[in-house]
Amino acid sequence: MHVKDAPDGYGIVSRLFHWLMAIAIFGLFGLGWWMVELDYYSPYYVSAPNLHRSVGILLFIALLARIFWRCLNIKPDDADLTAMERMASRFVHIGFYPLLIALSISGYLISTPGGRAIDVFGLFSVPSIVQQKGLEDSAGWVHWALAYGVIALAVVHTAGALKHHFIDKGSSLMRMWSGPQRPN
């Protein structure tokens, strides 16, 4: 099994990061979209935001670890892409990182500017750093807009991957799904 990335595919660590974070990102989007409309007397009024905050913090930690891991690895070969496709794919890939970092920070700033910490599944808590009255309002708008931005980018990314797999008969999807084919 390939742990690190190889020229013909991603190693197990990168693949786990990719698919688990994809699930978490879509899950958090759906959860967030649903939970803000909950009635005060819904049984999930307290637990849904708690879950959203906890998973969000873990996602942010995973994101930092993923960026670090990416720096340690070579980039799989993308010579089969046209110059245009390569530029678009790099733009989308690189675009996720600042968007997700800003999304995480804005979410953190909805919960913490009054001085309260974010409790993560009762395991640990992330303290408030910035305290400013009313910051939660602007952070809320930014978080909302960035969430849609990330999902839009994910849709573009998915469409590109599917087009490359089914129409261009490229190998990029399999590189991320089953990893490098050459033995170690």
């Binding site: 935001p49 009054g114 009255k133």
Partner: protein, 192 residues
């Protein structure tokens, strides 16, 4: 000698004239924070959730010999709502409750003050919240008043009123035990 007497008389007269005749106007000391506007709403009917508005201004006119000539005016910044919980305050500022972008102010303007004896009075006036104006009645009580140690004159009161949130168009329903909000004003005015 005559001249000296005349100037003394003029001085005495000017003192008499500087004594406020009738009602005197006071500025509510929000700058020095000797005033606060608090509210409470029942949480599920199990306890009181207490909050406050951090920013407001106001003035009143007060005459201890003719209480009924008194009047009061208060203007509250809705965005300054503070319940010691950032996420809840965000929700309170939203369209579910105060809708502070559309309705940045809550105002109260008195229409009548009726003495109720024992330092108490009933203040009836117009409360405007979310663009809806309704008459409310504030049960007021004088706390104290007189010279302060820094050359000013102060007068302090406490007043309480309550109203149903839905009457002012607040759309969020917090449940059967939490339809009303109690508003308490603690104000100290400085003589203008």
């Amino acid at each position: 000698m005559t001249l000296r007497f005349a100037s003394l008389a003029a001085l005495a007269l000017s003192f008499v004239m500087s004594v406020p005749a009738g009602a005197a106007d006071y500025e509510i000391d929000s700058k020095g924070a000797h005033a606060s506007i608090n509210f409470r709403v029942k949480h599920l009917g199990y306890s009181w959730l207490v909050g406050r508005f951090d920013t407001f201004t106001g003035s009143f006119s007060y005459d201890n010999k003719a209480i009924d000539k008194s009047s009061v005016k208060v203007e509250i910044d809705t965005a300054s709502v503070n319940t010691n919980h950032a996420e809840r305050d965000k929700h309170l500022r939203s369209a579910d409750f105060l809708d502070v972008v559309k309705f940045p102010k809550v105002t109260f303007v008195s229409k009548s003050v009726t003495p109720a004896g024992d330092g108490k009075a009933t203040i009836v006036g117009d409360l405007t919240l979310r663009g809806v104006t309704k008459e409310v009645s504030i049960a007021a009580v004088g706390i104290g008043g007189g010279d302060d140690p820094w050359g000013g004159v102060r007068q302090g009161f406490e007043g309480t009123t309550k109203f149903t949130m839905a009457d002012f168009g607040i759309p969020k329903d917090l449940g059967p035990a939490s339809k009303e909000v109690e508003l308490t004003l603690h104000v100290e005015g400085i003589l203008k």
